[in-house]
Symmetry: C2
Subunit: 329 residues, 2 copies
Protein backbone atom coordinates (compact mmCIF):
# COMPACT_ATOMS: atom_id res chain seq x y z
CA UNK A 1 0.00 0.00 0.00
CA UNK A 2 1.44 3.33 -1.10
CA UNK A 3 0.40 6.46 0.74
CA UNK A 4 0.86 10.17 0.17
CA UNK A 5 0.23 12.64 2.98
CA UNK A 6 -0.65 16.26 2.50
CA UNK A 7 -0.83 18.37 5.64
CA UNK A 8 1.63 17.67 8.44
CA UNK A 9 0.24 19.15 11.65
CA UNK A 10 -0.66 17.30 14.83
CA UNK A 11 -2.88 14.68 13.22
CA UNK A 12 -0.52 14.15 10.27
CA UNK A 13 2.40 13.50 12.61
CA UNK A 14 0.29 11.20 14.78
CA UNK A 15 -0.78 9.33 11.64
CA UNK A 16 2.81 8.62 10.61
CA UNK A 17 3.63 7.49 14.15
CA UNK A 18 0.57 5.23 14.14
CA UNK A 19 1.62 3.53 10.91
CA UNK A 20 4.93 2.75 12.53
CA UNK A 21 3.49 1.68 15.89
CA UNK A 22 1.01 -0.68 14.24
CA UNK A 23 3.55 -2.00 11.74
CA UNK A 24 1.18 -1.20 8.88
CA UNK A 25 2.65 -2.68 5.74
CA UNK A 26 2.89 0.43 3.60
CA UNK A 27 5.17 2.87 1.92
CA UNK A 28 4.94 6.65 2.43
CA UNK A 29 5.91 8.30 -0.82
CA UNK A 30 5.54 11.92 0.21
CA UNK A 31 4.67 14.27 3.03
CA UNK A 32 3.77 17.80 2.00
CA UNK A 33 3.47 20.94 4.07
CA UNK A 34 2.43 24.39 2.87
CA UNK A 35 6.02 25.44 2.18
CA UNK A 36 7.55 22.27 0.82
CA UNK A 37 7.79 18.58 1.38
CA UNK A 38 9.73 15.34 1.49
CA UNK A 39 9.41 12.86 -1.34
CA UNK A 40 10.91 9.56 -2.36
CA UNK A 41 9.29 7.51 -5.08
CA UNK A 42 10.66 4.34 -3.47
CA UNK A 43 9.11 5.28 -0.13
CA UNK A 44 10.44 7.33 2.77
CA UNK A 45 11.99 5.66 5.79
CA UNK A 46 9.26 6.13 8.40
CA UNK A 47 11.66 6.09 11.34
CA UNK A 48 13.80 8.80 9.75
CA UNK A 49 10.71 10.95 9.42
CA UNK A 50 9.49 10.33 12.97
CA UNK A 51 12.91 11.16 14.44
CA UNK A 52 12.71 14.68 13.06
CA UNK A 53 8.97 15.14 12.83
CA UNK A 54 9.08 18.67 14.21
CA UNK A 55 11.98 19.60 11.98
CA UNK A 56 11.00 17.86 8.82
CA UNK A 57 12.86 20.49 6.79
CA UNK A 58 16.06 18.87 7.98
CA UNK A 59 15.13 15.65 6.21
CA UNK A 60 17.48 14.88 3.32
CA UNK A 61 14.55 14.56 0.92
CA UNK A 62 13.08 17.94 1.88
CA UNK A 63 12.59 20.39 -0.95
CA UNK A 64 11.46 23.93 -0.31
CA UNK A 65 8.41 24.80 -2.40
CA UNK A 66 7.62 21.20 -3.35
CA UNK A 67 3.88 21.06 -3.78
CA UNK A 68 1.04 18.76 -4.72
CA UNK A 69 1.42 19.39 -8.45
CA UNK A 70 4.99 18.05 -8.29
CA UNK A 71 3.89 14.69 -6.92
CA UNK A 72 0.32 14.24 -8.12
CA UNK A 73 1.18 11.74 -10.83
CA UNK A 74 3.08 9.50 -8.44
CA UNK A 75 1.28 6.17 -8.18
CA UNK A 76 -0.25 5.82 -4.72
CA UNK A 77 -3.24 3.93 -3.33
CA UNK A 78 -4.25 6.49 -0.73
CA UNK A 79 -3.96 10.23 -0.40
CA UNK A 80 -4.36 11.26 3.24
CA UNK A 81 -5.56 14.85 3.18
CA UNK A 82 -5.05 16.80 6.41
CA UNK A 83 -4.47 20.40 5.30
CA UNK A 84 -5.96 23.36 7.20
CA UNK A 85 -9.72 23.73 6.93
CA UNK A 86 -11.45 26.45 4.97
CA UNK A 87 -15.19 26.27 5.55
CA UNK A 88 -16.00 28.89 2.91
CA UNK A 89 -14.21 27.57 -0.15
CA UNK A 90 -12.95 24.16 0.95
CA UNK A 91 -9.68 25.08 -0.77
CA UNK A 92 -6.98 24.09 -1.32
CA UNK A 93 -8.16 20.69 -0.06
CA UNK A 94 -11.08 20.51 -2.49
CA UNK A 95 -8.70 20.68 -5.46
CA UNK A 96 -6.28 18.16 -3.94
CA UNK A 97 -9.10 15.69 -3.36
CA UNK A 98 -10.53 16.11 -6.87
CA UNK A 99 -7.13 15.74 -8.53
CA UNK A 100 -6.41 12.58 -6.59
CA UNK A 101 -9.82 10.99 -7.22
CA UNK A 102 -9.51 11.81 -10.92
CA UNK A 103 -6.26 9.87 -10.97
CA UNK A 104 -7.85 6.80 -9.39
CA UNK A 105 -6.42 7.41 -5.93
CA UNK A 106 -8.50 6.70 -2.82
CA UNK A 107 -8.70 9.72 -0.53
CA UNK A 108 -9.12 9.79 3.24
CA UNK A 109 -9.58 13.20 4.80
CA UNK A 110 -10.04 14.74 8.20
CA UNK A 111 -10.89 18.09 6.64
CA UNK A 112 -14.45 19.32 7.11
CA UNK A 113 -14.19 22.20 4.59
CA UNK A 114 -14.28 20.38 1.25
CA UNK A 115 -16.70 17.77 2.62
CA UNK A 116 -19.14 20.37 3.88
CA UNK A 117 -19.02 22.14 0.56
CA UNK A 118 -19.30 19.30 -1.92
CA UNK A 119 -19.48 15.83 -0.44
CA UNK A 120 -21.91 14.45 -2.99
CA UNK A 121 -19.92 15.81 -5.92
CA UNK A 122 -16.73 14.27 -4.57
CA UNK A 123 -18.52 11.00 -3.82
CA UNK A 124 -19.71 10.85 -7.42
CA UNK A 125 -16.23 11.60 -8.68
CA UNK A 126 -14.86 8.78 -6.51
CA UNK A 127 -17.47 6.39 -7.84
CA UNK A 128 -16.75 7.40 -11.43
CA UNK A 129 -13.08 6.60 -10.86
CA UNK A 130 -13.84 3.39 -8.97
CA UNK A 131 -12.15 4.58 -5.78
CA UNK A 132 -13.36 5.60 -2.32
CA UNK A 133 -13.49 8.76 -0.27
CA UNK A 134 -13.18 8.28 3.50
CA UNK A 135 -14.61 11.08 5.64
CA UNK A 136 -15.11 9.36 9.00
CA UNK A 137 -12.67 11.66 10.78
CA UNK A 138 -14.66 14.79 9.87
CA UNK A 139 -17.72 14.00 11.99
CA UNK A 140 -16.36 13.32 15.44
CA UNK A 141 -12.87 11.91 14.93
CA UNK A 142 -12.64 8.53 16.60
CA UNK A 143 -16.41 8.36 17.18
CA UNK A 144 -17.61 6.00 14.43
CA UNK A 145 -20.48 8.19 13.30
CA UNK A 146 -20.19 7.61 9.55
CA UNK A 147 -19.65 3.84 9.73
CA UNK A 148 -22.31 3.80 12.46
CA UNK A 149 -24.88 5.34 10.15
CA UNK A 150 -23.77 3.55 7.02
CA UNK A 151 -22.78 0.05 8.12
CA UNK A 152 -24.42 -0.44 11.53
CA UNK A 153 -27.73 0.89 10.16
CA UNK A 154 -27.46 -0.73 6.70
CA UNK A 155 -30.77 -1.89 5.30
CA UNK A 156 -32.72 0.41 7.61
CA UNK A 157 -33.96 3.96 7.02
CA UNK A 158 -32.50 6.61 9.33
CA UNK A 159 -35.44 8.72 10.45
CA UNK A 160 -33.71 11.01 12.90
CA UNK A 161 -30.15 11.82 13.95
CA UNK A 162 -29.07 13.45 17.18
CA UNK A 163 -25.53 14.24 18.16
CA UNK A 164 -23.44 15.63 20.99
CA UNK A 165 -20.38 16.18 18.87
CA UNK A 166 -18.38 19.01 20.37
CA UNK A 167 -16.02 18.40 23.27
CA UNK A 168 -15.28 22.07 23.97
CA UNK A 169 -18.90 22.95 24.68
CA UNK A 170 -19.37 19.75 26.71
CA UNK A 171 -16.46 20.84 28.85
CA UNK A 172 -17.60 24.44 29.31
CA UNK A 173 -21.17 23.45 30.24
CA UNK A 174 -19.89 20.91 32.75
CA UNK A 175 -17.49 23.43 34.31
CA UNK A 176 -20.26 26.01 34.62
CA UNK A 177 -22.39 23.50 36.52
CA UNK A 178 -19.81 21.99 38.83
CA UNK A 179 -17.88 25.19 39.63
CA UNK A 180 -20.91 27.48 39.41
CA UNK A 181 -19.10 29.92 37.16
CA UNK A 182 -20.66 31.83 34.29
CA UNK A 183 -19.97 31.14 30.63
CA UNK A 184 -17.26 33.80 30.14
CA UNK A 185 -15.17 32.50 33.01
CA UNK A 186 -15.58 28.85 32.02
CA UNK A 187 -14.56 29.75 28.46
CA UNK A 188 -11.46 31.56 29.73
CA UNK A 189 -10.48 28.52 31.81
CA UNK A 190 -11.00 26.24 28.83
CA UNK A 191 -8.85 28.52 26.68
CA UNK A 192 -6.08 28.50 29.27
CA UNK A 193 -6.14 24.70 29.27
CA UNK A 194 -6.04 24.62 25.47
CA UNK A 195 -9.48 22.96 25.36
CA UNK A 196 -11.06 26.01 23.72
CA UNK A 197 -9.37 27.93 20.92
CA UNK A 198 -8.37 31.59 21.10
CA UNK A 199 -11.17 32.25 18.65
CA UNK A 200 -13.79 29.91 20.09
CA UNK A 201 -16.60 30.93 17.75
CA UNK A 202 -16.73 27.68 15.74
CA UNK A 203 -17.25 25.62 18.87
CA UNK A 204 -19.26 27.79 21.26
CA UNK A 205 -21.58 29.26 18.66
CA UNK A 206 -22.51 25.80 17.45
CA UNK A 207 -20.98 25.89 13.96
CA UNK A 208 -18.72 22.90 14.54
CA UNK A 209 -21.68 20.77 15.64
CA UNK A 210 -23.81 22.07 12.76
CA UNK A 211 -21.12 21.27 10.19
CA UNK A 212 -20.77 17.73 11.52
CA UNK A 213 -24.54 17.21 11.46
CA UNK A 214 -24.75 18.55 7.90
CA UNK A 215 -21.95 16.29 6.70
CA UNK A 216 -23.68 13.30 8.33
CA UNK A 217 -26.99 14.24 6.72
CA UNK A 218 -25.47 14.66 3.27
CA UNK A 219 -23.40 11.49 3.55
CA UNK A 220 -26.05 9.24 5.09
CA UNK A 221 -29.25 10.64 3.64
CA UNK A 222 -27.89 11.78 0.27
CA UNK A 223 -28.83 15.43 0.77
CA UNK A 224 -27.10 18.59 -0.37
CA UNK A 225 -27.55 20.78 2.68
CA UNK A 226 -25.30 23.74 3.48
CA UNK A 227 -24.75 25.75 6.66
CA UNK A 228 -27.53 28.07 5.43
CA UNK A 229 -30.02 25.26 5.94
CA UNK A 230 -29.23 24.87 9.64
CA UNK A 231 -30.81 26.69 12.55
CA UNK A 232 -27.91 27.26 14.93
CA UNK A 233 -27.71 28.53 18.48
CA UNK A 234 -24.57 28.08 20.53
CA UNK A 235 -24.00 27.98 24.28
CA UNK A 236 -22.99 31.62 24.77
CA UNK A 237 -26.32 32.57 26.36
CA UNK A 238 -26.53 29.61 28.73
CA UNK A 239 -26.32 30.73 32.37
CA UNK A 240 -25.44 28.95 35.59
CA UNK A 241 -29.07 29.50 36.58
CA UNK A 242 -30.24 27.54 33.49
CA UNK A 243 -27.92 24.70 34.37
CA UNK A 244 -28.97 24.60 38.01
CA UNK A 245 -32.65 24.70 37.11
CA UNK A 246 -32.13 21.80 34.72
CA UNK A 247 -30.26 19.88 37.43
CA UNK A 248 -33.17 20.29 39.83
CA UNK A 249 -35.31 18.45 37.29
CA UNK A 250 -32.67 15.74 36.94
CA UNK A 251 -31.58 17.14 33.60
CA UNK A 252 -28.39 18.31 31.92
CA UNK A 253 -27.92 20.97 29.28
CA UNK A 254 -26.14 19.72 26.17
CA UNK A 255 -25.40 21.39 22.87
CA UNK A 256 -27.47 19.01 20.78
CA UNK A 257 -27.49 18.67 17.01
CA UNK A 258 -30.69 17.29 15.53
CA UNK A 259 -31.65 16.19 12.05
CA UNK A 260 -35.33 15.49 11.51
CA UNK A 261 -38.07 15.76 8.91
CA UNK A 262 -40.64 18.52 9.08
CA UNK A 263 -43.36 18.73 6.45
CA UNK A 264 -41.32 16.48 4.21
CA UNK A 265 -38.19 18.61 4.49
CA UNK A 266 -35.00 17.69 6.29
CA UNK A 267 -34.15 20.14 9.06
CA UNK A 268 -30.87 20.58 10.93
CA UNK A 269 -31.03 22.30 14.29
CA UNK A 270 -28.27 22.92 16.80
CA UNK A 271 -29.30 24.32 20.16
CA UNK A 272 -28.64 23.90 23.89
CA UNK A 273 -31.27 21.47 25.17
CA UNK A 274 -32.15 20.13 28.64
CA UNK A 275 -32.21 16.36 28.46
CA UNK A 276 -32.95 13.80 31.17
CA UNK A 277 -31.45 10.39 31.74
CA UNK A 278 -33.98 8.76 29.43
CA UNK A 279 -32.24 10.56 26.57
CA UNK A 280 -29.65 8.34 24.88
CA UNK A 281 -26.99 11.07 24.92
CA UNK A 282 -27.45 12.12 28.57
CA UNK A 283 -24.19 10.51 29.61
CA UNK A 284 -21.98 11.96 26.91
CA UNK A 285 -19.54 13.91 29.05
CA UNK A 286 -16.26 15.71 28.72
CA UNK A 287 -14.27 14.89 25.64
CA UNK A 288 -16.62 12.06 24.74
CA UNK A 289 -18.99 12.42 21.85
CA UNK A 290 -22.18 10.62 20.98
CA UNK A 291 -24.45 10.02 18.03
CA UNK A 292 -27.96 8.61 18.01
CA UNK A 293 -29.80 7.13 15.04
CA UNK A 294 -33.52 6.41 15.10
CA UNK A 295 -34.24 3.86 12.41
CA UNK A 296 -37.39 2.30 11.02
CA UNK A 297 -36.45 -1.37 11.41
CA UNK A 298 -33.34 -1.62 13.62
CA UNK A 299 -34.74 0.47 16.47
CA UNK A 300 -32.63 3.15 18.14
CA UNK A 301 -28.87 2.88 17.84
CA UNK A 302 -26.64 5.07 20.00
CA UNK A 303 -22.87 5.18 19.76
CA UNK A 304 -20.84 6.88 22.45
CA UNK A 305 -17.10 7.33 22.68
CA UNK A 306 -14.24 8.29 20.55
CA UNK A 307 -11.47 9.93 22.50
CA UNK A 308 -10.24 13.10 20.84
CA UNK A 309 -6.47 13.43 20.86
CA UNK A 310 -4.48 13.77 17.64
CA UNK A 311 -3.64 10.07 18.05
CA UNK A 312 -7.33 9.18 18.12
CA UNK A 313 -8.02 11.36 15.08
CA UNK A 314 -5.16 9.62 13.27
CA UNK A 315 -6.71 6.28 14.24
CA UNK A 316 -9.95 7.46 12.61
CA UNK A 317 -7.99 8.09 9.39
CA UNK A 318 -6.45 4.63 9.64
CA UNK A 319 -9.93 3.13 10.25
CA UNK A 320 -11.13 4.56 6.95
CA UNK A 321 -8.06 3.23 5.15
CA UNK A 322 -8.53 -0.25 6.58
CA UNK A 323 -12.24 -0.26 5.75
CA UNK A 324 -11.66 1.00 2.23
CA UNK A 325 -8.91 -1.57 1.68
CA UNK A 326 -11.23 -4.48 2.36
CA UNK A 327 -14.68 -3.13 1.89
CA UNK A 328 -15.01 0.11 -0.04
CA UNK A 329 -16.96 2.07 2.55
CA UNK B 1 -30.41 -10.86 -6.08
CA UNK B 2 -31.64 -14.43 -5.57
CA UNK B 3 -32.35 -15.63 -2.06
CA UNK B 4 -33.14 -18.97 -0.49
CA UNK B 5 -34.58 -19.17 3.00
CA UNK B 6 -34.30 -22.14 5.29
CA UNK B 7 -36.23 -21.96 8.55
CA UNK B 8 -39.60 -20.25 8.55
CA UNK B 9 -40.46 -19.29 12.11
CA UNK B 10 -41.07 -15.79 13.46
CA UNK B 11 -37.87 -14.23 12.13
CA UNK B 12 -38.15 -15.97 8.76
CA UNK B 13 -41.67 -14.67 8.26
CA UNK B 14 -40.65 -11.18 9.37
CA UNK B 15 -37.74 -11.32 6.93
CA UNK B 16 -40.01 -12.07 3.97
CA UNK B 17 -42.36 -9.26 5.03
CA UNK B 18 -39.39 -6.89 5.34
CA UNK B 19 -38.22 -7.64 1.80
CA UNK B 20 -41.66 -6.72 0.58
CA UNK B 21 -42.05 -3.63 2.79
CA UNK B 22 -38.69 -2.26 1.72
CA UNK B 23 -39.19 -3.14 -1.93
CA UNK B 24 -35.88 -4.98 -1.97
CA UNK B 25 -35.12 -5.94 -5.53
CA UNK B 26 -34.78 -9.70 -5.16
CA UNK B 27 -36.22 -13.03 -5.97
CA UNK B 28 -37.03 -15.66 -3.33
CA UNK B 29 -36.41 -19.05 -4.87
CA UNK B 30 -37.34 -21.25 -1.95
CA UNK B 31 -38.57 -21.29 1.62
CA UNK B 32 -37.97 -24.50 3.52
CA UNK B 33 -39.42 -25.73 6.79
CA UNK B 34 -38.60 -28.95 8.61
CA UNK B 35 -41.39 -30.87 6.90
CA UNK B 36 -41.31 -29.47 3.39
CA UNK B 37 -41.12 -26.26 1.46
CA UNK B 38 -42.13 -24.01 -1.40
CA UNK B 39 -39.87 -23.62 -4.42
CA UNK B 40 -39.95 -21.91 -7.77
CA UNK B 41 -36.77 -21.58 -9.77
CA UNK B 42 -38.14 -18.39 -11.36
CA UNK B 43 -38.83 -16.90 -7.95
CA UNK B 44 -41.87 -17.09 -5.65
CA UNK B 45 -44.43 -14.31 -5.61
CA UNK B 46 -43.68 -12.64 -2.27
CA UNK B 47 -47.21 -11.36 -1.78
CA UNK B 48 -48.64 -14.81 -2.31
CA UNK B 49 -46.33 -16.12 0.39
CA UNK B 50 -47.11 -13.33 2.84
CA UNK B 51 -50.85 -13.78 2.41
CA UNK B 52 -50.66 -17.34 3.74
CA UNK B 53 -47.53 -17.10 5.84
CA UNK B 54 -49.02 -19.11 8.71
CA UNK B 55 -50.43 -21.71 6.34
CA UNK B 56 -47.57 -21.97 3.89
CA UNK B 57 -48.51 -25.59 3.19
CA UNK B 58 -51.49 -24.24 1.26
CA UNK B 59 -49.14 -22.54 -1.22
CA UNK B 60 -49.39 -24.06 -4.68
CA UNK B 61 -45.63 -24.65 -4.77
CA UNK B 62 -45.59 -26.46 -1.42
CA UNK B 63 -44.15 -29.95 -1.47
CA UNK B 64 -44.25 -32.16 1.58
CA UNK B 65 -40.80 -33.48 2.42
CA UNK B 66 -38.95 -31.04 0.16
CA UNK B 67 -35.60 -30.47 1.82
CA UNK B 68 -32.32 -28.66 1.41
CA UNK B 69 -30.77 -31.40 -0.71
CA UNK B 70 -33.52 -30.92 -3.28
CA UNK B 71 -32.72 -27.26 -3.84
CA UNK B 72 -29.04 -26.93 -2.94
CA UNK B 73 -27.85 -26.69 -6.52
CA UNK B 74 -30.26 -23.90 -7.37
CA UNK B 75 -28.27 -20.75 -8.17
CA UNK B 76 -28.80 -18.17 -5.45
CA UNK B 77 -26.71 -15.29 -4.11
CA UNK B 78 -27.73 -15.62 -0.47
CA UNK B 79 -28.86 -18.43 1.76
CA UNK B 80 -30.66 -17.05 4.80
CA UNK B 81 -30.34 -19.69 7.50
CA UNK B 82 -32.85 -19.46 10.35
CA UNK B 83 -33.42 -23.04 11.45
CA UNK B 84 -33.78 -23.99 15.14
CA UNK B 85 -30.60 -23.73 17.18
CA UNK B 86 -28.66 -26.67 18.50
CA UNK B 87 -25.85 -25.47 20.74
CA UNK B 88 -24.27 -28.92 21.08
CA UNK B 89 -23.86 -30.01 17.47
CA UNK B 90 -24.84 -26.92 15.49
CA UNK B 91 -26.80 -29.27 13.22
CA UNK B 92 -28.54 -29.33 10.88
CA UNK B 93 -27.59 -25.68 10.29
CA UNK B 94 -23.87 -26.39 10.25
CA UNK B 95 -24.28 -28.72 7.27
CA UNK B 96 -26.58 -26.31 5.43
CA UNK B 97 -24.10 -23.47 5.85
CA UNK B 98 -21.14 -25.58 4.69
CA UNK B 99 -22.99 -26.90 1.67
CA UNK B 100 -24.02 -23.40 0.63
CA UNK B 101 -20.56 -21.86 1.12
CA UNK B 102 -19.00 -24.74 -0.83
CA UNK B 103 -21.29 -23.85 -3.74
CA UNK B 104 -20.23 -20.20 -3.72
CA UNK B 105 -23.37 -18.94 -1.98
CA UNK B 106 -23.17 -16.17 0.62
CA UNK B 107 -24.80 -17.18 3.91
CA UNK B 108 -26.47 -14.97 6.48
CA UNK B 109 -27.59 -16.67 9.66
CA UNK B 110 -29.31 -15.81 12.91
CA UNK B 111 -28.43 -19.20 14.34
CA UNK B 112 -25.97 -19.22 17.25
CA UNK B 113 -25.40 -22.99 17.24
CA UNK B 114 -23.19 -23.47 14.17
CA UNK B 115 -21.44 -20.16 14.78
CA UNK B 116 -20.60 -21.01 18.37
CA UNK B 117 -19.27 -24.37 17.31
CA UNK B 118 -17.18 -23.53 14.28
CA UNK B 119 -17.14 -19.87 13.25
CA UNK B 120 -13.52 -19.81 12.17
CA UNK B 121 -13.86 -22.98 10.12
CA UNK B 122 -16.91 -21.59 8.35
CA UNK B 123 -15.21 -18.24 7.84
CA UNK B 124 -12.28 -19.96 6.16
CA UNK B 125 -14.61 -21.95 3.99
CA UNK B 126 -16.36 -18.73 2.95
CA UNK B 127 -13.03 -17.13 2.13
CA UNK B 128 -11.91 -20.14 0.12
CA UNK B 129 -15.08 -19.88 -1.94
CA UNK B 130 -14.86 -16.11 -2.24
CA UNK B 131 -18.18 -15.50 -0.49
CA UNK B 132 -19.23 -14.07 2.87
CA UNK B 133 -20.80 -15.35 6.05
CA UNK B 134 -22.97 -12.83 7.90
CA UNK B 135 -23.48 -13.54 11.61
CA UNK B 136 -24.55 -10.11 12.94
CA UNK B 137 -27.95 -11.37 14.08
CA UNK B 138 -26.42 -13.98 16.40
CA UNK B 139 -24.86 -11.55 18.88
CA UNK B 140 -27.70 -9.26 19.86
CA UNK B 141 -30.03 -9.11 16.86
CA UNK B 142 -30.45 -5.50 15.80
CA UNK B 143 -27.61 -4.32 18.07
CA UNK B 144 -24.72 -3.83 15.64
CA UNK B 145 -22.17 -5.66 17.75
CA UNK B 146 -20.30 -7.44 14.94
CA UNK B 147 -20.13 -4.45 12.58
CA UNK B 148 -19.38 -2.32 15.66
CA UNK B 149 -16.32 -4.39 16.50
CA UNK B 150 -15.22 -5.01 12.94
CA UNK B 151 -15.95 -1.81 11.04
CA UNK B 152 -16.32 0.89 13.73
CA UNK B 153 -13.13 -0.34 15.41
CA UNK B 154 -11.20 -1.12 12.20
CA UNK B 155 -7.49 -0.39 12.44
CA UNK B 156 -7.56 -0.48 16.23
CA UNK B 157 -6.91 -3.38 18.60
CA UNK B 158 -9.85 -4.40 20.77
CA UNK B 159 -8.42 -4.86 24.25
CA UNK B 160 -11.58 -5.57 26.18
CA UNK B 161 -15.24 -6.29 25.42
CA UNK B 162 -18.15 -5.89 27.79
CA UNK B 163 -21.75 -6.62 26.96
CA UNK B 164 -25.23 -6.49 28.40
CA UNK B 165 -26.75 -8.75 25.80
CA UNK B 166 -29.72 -10.49 27.30
CA UNK B 167 -33.10 -8.76 27.45
CA UNK B 168 -34.78 -11.37 29.65
CA UNK B 169 -32.34 -10.98 32.53
CA UNK B 170 -32.43 -7.18 32.16
CA UNK B 171 -36.17 -7.34 32.56
CA UNK B 172 -36.15 -9.69 35.55
CA UNK B 173 -33.51 -7.69 37.43
CA UNK B 174 -35.40 -4.46 36.82
CA UNK B 175 -38.70 -6.00 37.99
CA UNK B 176 -37.06 -7.33 41.14
CA UNK B 177 -35.84 -3.83 41.97
CA UNK B 178 -38.91 -1.78 41.12
CA UNK B 179 -41.54 -4.22 42.48
CA UNK B 180 -39.36 -5.57 45.30
CA UNK B 181 -40.13 -9.15 44.37
CA UNK B 182 -37.69 -12.04 44.55
CA UNK B 183 -36.19 -13.75 41.53
CA UNK B 184 -38.65 -16.66 41.34
CA UNK B 185 -41.67 -14.36 41.24
CA UNK B 186 -40.10 -11.98 38.72
CA UNK B 187 -39.23 -14.96 36.51
CA UNK B 188 -42.81 -16.23 36.71
CA UNK B 189 -44.14 -12.82 35.69
CA UNK B 190 -41.68 -12.64 32.81
CA UNK B 191 -42.75 -16.12 31.68
CA UNK B 192 -46.41 -15.13 31.79
CA UNK B 193 -45.62 -12.12 29.59
CA UNK B 194 -43.68 -14.28 27.14
CA UNK B 195 -40.45 -12.39 27.95
CA UNK B 196 -38.87 -15.45 29.56
CA UNK B 197 -39.15 -18.90 28.05
CA UNK B 198 -40.78 -21.87 29.75
CA UNK B 199 -37.31 -23.30 30.13
CA UNK B 200 -35.45 -20.12 31.05
CA UNK B 201 -32.08 -21.75 31.69
CA UNK B 202 -30.29 -20.33 28.64
CA UNK B 203 -31.12 -16.78 29.64
CA UNK B 204 -31.16 -16.71 33.44
CA UNK B 205 -28.15 -18.95 33.93
CA UNK B 206 -26.08 -16.74 31.66
CA UNK B 207 -25.49 -19.14 28.77
CA UNK B 208 -27.10 -16.89 26.17
CA UNK B 209 -24.84 -13.99 27.19
CA UNK B 210 -21.80 -16.27 27.29
CA UNK B 211 -22.49 -17.67 23.83
CA UNK B 212 -22.80 -14.17 22.38
CA UNK B 213 -19.57 -13.07 24.06
CA UNK B 214 -17.76 -16.16 22.75
CA UNK B 215 -19.01 -15.61 19.22
CA UNK B 216 -17.87 -11.97 19.39
CA UNK B 217 -14.48 -13.02 20.70
CA UNK B 218 -13.97 -15.64 18.03
CA UNK B 219 -15.21 -13.37 15.24
CA UNK B 220 -13.42 -10.19 16.29
CA UNK B 221 -10.27 -11.52 17.92
CA UNK B 222 -9.81 -14.65 15.80
CA UNK B 223 -9.99 -17.06 18.73
CA UNK B 224 -11.44 -20.56 18.95
CA UNK B 225 -13.10 -20.41 22.34
CA UNK B 226 -15.93 -22.71 23.36
CA UNK B 227 -18.46 -22.57 26.20
CA UNK B 228 -15.95 -24.58 28.27
CA UNK B 229 -13.65 -21.58 28.26
CA UNK B 230 -16.18 -19.28 29.89
CA UNK B 231 -16.79 -18.72 33.58
CA UNK B 232 -20.56 -18.33 33.83
CA UNK B 233 -22.85 -17.31 36.65
CA UNK B 234 -26.44 -16.33 35.99
CA UNK B 235 -28.89 -14.19 37.94
CA UNK B 236 -30.67 -16.97 39.83
CA UNK B 237 -28.95 -16.18 43.11
CA UNK B 238 -29.46 -12.41 42.96
CA UNK B 239 -31.77 -11.20 45.73
CA UNK B 240 -33.87 -8.07 46.21
CA UNK B 241 -31.51 -7.24 49.05
CA UNK B 242 -28.54 -7.28 46.64
CA UNK B 243 -30.36 -4.96 44.28
CA UNK B 244 -31.41 -2.55 47.03
CA UNK B 245 -27.91 -2.45 48.48
CA UNK B 246 -26.54 -1.65 45.04
CA UNK B 247 -29.16 1.07 44.60
CA UNK B 248 -28.10 2.70 47.86
CA UNK B 249 -24.63 3.08 46.36
CA UNK B 250 -26.12 4.50 43.15
CA UNK B 251 -25.50 1.24 41.34
CA UNK B 252 -27.47 -1.27 39.31
CA UNK B 253 -26.95 -4.99 38.99
CA UNK B 254 -26.56 -6.17 35.41
CA UNK B 255 -25.73 -9.56 33.96
CA UNK B 256 -22.45 -8.50 32.39
CA UNK B 257 -20.37 -10.42 29.89
CA UNK B 258 -16.68 -9.60 29.85
CA UNK B 259 -13.82 -10.54 27.58
CA UNK B 260 -10.37 -9.63 28.80
CA UNK B 261 -6.80 -10.80 28.81
CA UNK B 262 -5.27 -12.38 31.90
CA UNK B 263 -1.66 -13.53 31.84
CA UNK B 264 -1.72 -13.46 28.07
CA UNK B 265 -4.85 -15.58 27.82
CA UNK B 266 -8.27 -14.43 26.68
CA UNK B 267 -10.92 -14.92 29.38
CA UNK B 268 -14.70 -14.81 29.04
CA UNK B 269 -16.68 -14.19 32.19
CA UNK B 270 -20.42 -13.74 32.65
CA UNK B 271 -21.64 -12.70 36.05
CA UNK B 272 -24.08 -10.32 37.78
CA UNK B 273 -22.12 -7.15 38.53
CA UNK B 274 -22.96 -3.90 40.35
CA UNK B 275 -22.10 -1.00 38.06
CA UNK B 276 -22.43 2.72 38.62
CA UNK B 277 -23.33 5.46 36.18
CA UNK B 278 -19.70 5.87 35.15
CA UNK B 279 -19.96 2.47 33.52
CA UNK B 280 -20.79 2.74 29.83
CA UNK B 281 -23.53 0.09 30.04
CA UNK B 282 -25.29 1.47 33.15
CA UNK B 283 -28.23 2.73 31.10
CA UNK B 284 -28.89 -0.42 29.13
CA UNK B 285 -32.42 -1.18 30.26
CA UNK B 286 -35.31 -3.44 29.37
CA UNK B 287 -35.16 -4.95 25.93
CA UNK B 288 -32.18 -2.79 24.98
CA UNK B 289 -28.77 -4.29 24.68
CA UNK B 290 -25.32 -2.78 24.80
CA UNK B 291 -21.77 -3.58 23.83
CA UNK B 292 -18.58 -1.83 24.87
CA UNK B 293 -15.20 -2.02 23.15
CA UNK B 294 -12.03 -0.71 24.75
CA UNK B 295 -9.51 -0.13 22.00
CA UNK B 296 -5.89 0.91 21.90
CA UNK B 297 -6.16 3.85 19.51
CA UNK B 298 -9.84 4.74 19.06
CA UNK B 299 -10.62 5.02 22.77
CA UNK B 300 -13.75 3.48 24.25
CA UNK B 301 -16.65 2.79 21.90
CA UNK B 302 -20.05 1.89 23.32
CA UNK B 303 -23.06 0.93 21.24
CA UNK B 304 -26.50 0.76 22.80
CA UNK B 305 -29.80 -0.17 21.22
CA UNK B 306 -31.19 -2.73 18.94
CA UNK B 307 -34.84 -3.40 19.64
CA UNK B 308 -35.58 -7.11 19.80
CA UNK B 309 -38.77 -8.09 18.00
CA UNK B 310 -38.74 -10.62 15.17
CA UNK B 311 -38.95 -7.63 12.81
CA UNK B 312 -35.76 -6.18 14.31
CA UNK B 313 -33.99 -9.53 14.07
CA UNK B 314 -35.07 -9.76 10.42
CA UNK B 315 -33.65 -6.25 9.89
CA UNK B 316 -30.35 -7.51 11.30
CA UNK B 317 -30.36 -10.27 8.65
CA UNK B 318 -31.10 -7.68 5.97
CA UNK B 319 -28.28 -5.48 7.32
CA UNK B 320 -25.80 -8.29 6.76
CA UNK B 321 -27.12 -8.88 3.25
CA UNK B 322 -26.83 -5.20 2.34
CA UNK B 323 -23.34 -4.95 3.80
CA UNK B 324 -22.17 -8.11 2.06
CA UNK B 325 -23.65 -6.92 -1.24
CA UNK B 326 -21.56 -3.79 -1.29
CA UNK B 327 -18.69 -4.45 1.05
CA UNK B 328 -18.05 -8.06 1.95
CA UNK B 329 -18.18 -7.73 5.72
Amino acid sequence: MNIGLIGYGGVGKAFIRLLEEKHIHCSIKYILKSDGGVFNSKGLDINDVIKIEDNIKEHEEWMEGRNFENVIDEKIDFLVELTPTNMKTGEPALTYIKEALNRGINVVTGNKGPILINYLGLKELAKKNNVSLGIGCTTGGALPSITGGRVDCAGARIEEIQGVLNGTTNYILKEMGTKEIEYEEALKNAQELGIAETNPKMDVEGFDTAIKMIILTNALLGKKLTLEDAEIEGITKVTVKDIKEAEQEGKKIKLLGKVFTKKGNIKVKVTPVSIDEEHPLYFVEGKNKGIYYRTDTLGDITIIGGASSTRNAAAAILRDIENIKIMRV
